[in-house]
Symmetry: C2
Subunit: 212 residues, 2 copies
DNA sequence: TTTTCTATGTAATATATGTCACCATCCTTC
DNA sequence: GAAGGATGGTGACATATATTACATAGAAAA
């Protein structure tokens, strides 16, 4: 399977064979719901291409973006749920078209001991997810909305590779767990400050505000 | 080792022997710093008795409480750091006197394959830590300070087993990442509402506000 | 007791964010 | 082109939280 070439460097051939054999290749279109609140988790996704976003909601239905998963990343949170057949606390949506391999939880477990490279991969994945969650906590707890908004736009730029971000103010407000009016106001402020240019459903980041 | 009796039900005798042999029993007094920002992590703590709290700080030094670890819990976030000899992103402080067993990372790894019960324990621990972090995100992102304060007080009550909480307003403000004045104001409001009674360095939760 | 330090109470004020109302614009569909 | 839906702009106002300043009270130290 060509899409797996990245893993060649990571895993031994025998493991790659097993991944090909037991992993289920799945395709999702932009906007598809890959995992939803309350659903049982029976597999761990390894993203081959594209990007998906992971969200959490409160009782009232308000949602907040936790983090993105893109190529060659896995959601180990899903893994840790498999063992006890837990229901999902989060929702995953395809940010753009996504190819992923779903590894059944029985194999997850088996490979952990059979292939040291798998164990390392899983452990690094756990670590990355923790760090992402910590970054999210830091962002919400310590930063004002305008900073969070800039960070959000830059993250989108990084993931898409384009300085033109396609998103409505509604979408942004949802993912930052605030309201559209607030986001429109802050975006207009950023435009007045010369940091961005606003179009309908699009935001262009200006060059002098690249990553520092 | 008597303190380990809880683990008898969880682990096979051979593993308990290894824990006794290779784990290092450590004692910390209330307020001791168990892990600090930027220090290298080489072991995973298993808490035998007492409670420790895990904090994260921002650039300016402001801190926020992430979660507590108490008896029979482990910090798998530490584990996931061991593999790559990462520096800590968090700080851990003994909330009350703490006994813990420090498991060296070489053994962590070895036991994962050798003892299925260890693997299950570790995976459940990963899952619990994720859920705690999600709870923290939810609390900060979706709840007003007064709700977070009540939740904080109830968590302290649960951990200590006492409805009298020993804490200064300064401490609470730090752990909720706000200022003392704000906490004093909200606490006074809660007292006026008949939910708590305030004393110097102590807060008494009233019965009719037990867990619902 | 007097002094000093820590903890707490509270008013006044500033700022950030949330909410509501309403309008204008663009896009799609009929 | 008309109608309706989605998107975005903006003023007015409400509320939550942060900040500053100062007063008081209790505890500890001298």
């Amino acid at each position: 399977m060509d899409t797996l070439s990245y893993f060649d460097a990571l895993f031994e051939p025998a493991l790659i064979n097993e991944i090909n054999q037991f992993g289920e290749l799945k395709h999702f279109k932009e906007g598809d719901i890959i995992m939803d609140y309350g659903k049982y988790i029976r597999m761990m996704p390894m993203v081959i291409s594209g990007t998906l976003k992971v969200l959490k909601k409160d009782e009232t239905g308000k949602e907040i973006l936790l983090y993105y998963l893109s190529s060659n990343e896995s959601c180990s949170m899903a893994y840790s749920c498999c063992l006890e057949a837990k229901k999902s606390e989060v929702k995953a949506i395809a940010e753009e078209d996504v190819d992923l391999i779903a590894i059944p939880h029985t194999k997850l477990d088996e490979w952990l001991c059979k292939y040291p490279s798998w164990k390392n991969y899983i452990m690094r994945s756990f670590n990355l997810r923790f760090l992402e969650l910590l970054k999210t906590v830091e962002s919400i707890a310590f930063h004002k909305l305008d900073d969070r908004l800039i960070a959000y736009l830059k993250e989108k730029q990084r993931l898409s590779g384009s300085s033109v971000i396609k998103a409505s103010h509604y979408l942004i407000a949802d993912e930052l767990a605030t309201s559209r009016v607030v986001i429109s106001r802050l975006l207009k402020q950023l435009e007045n400050d010369g940091k961005i240019i606003l179009y309908r459903n699009e935001i262009k980041l200006l060059n002098d505000y690249d990553y520092s």
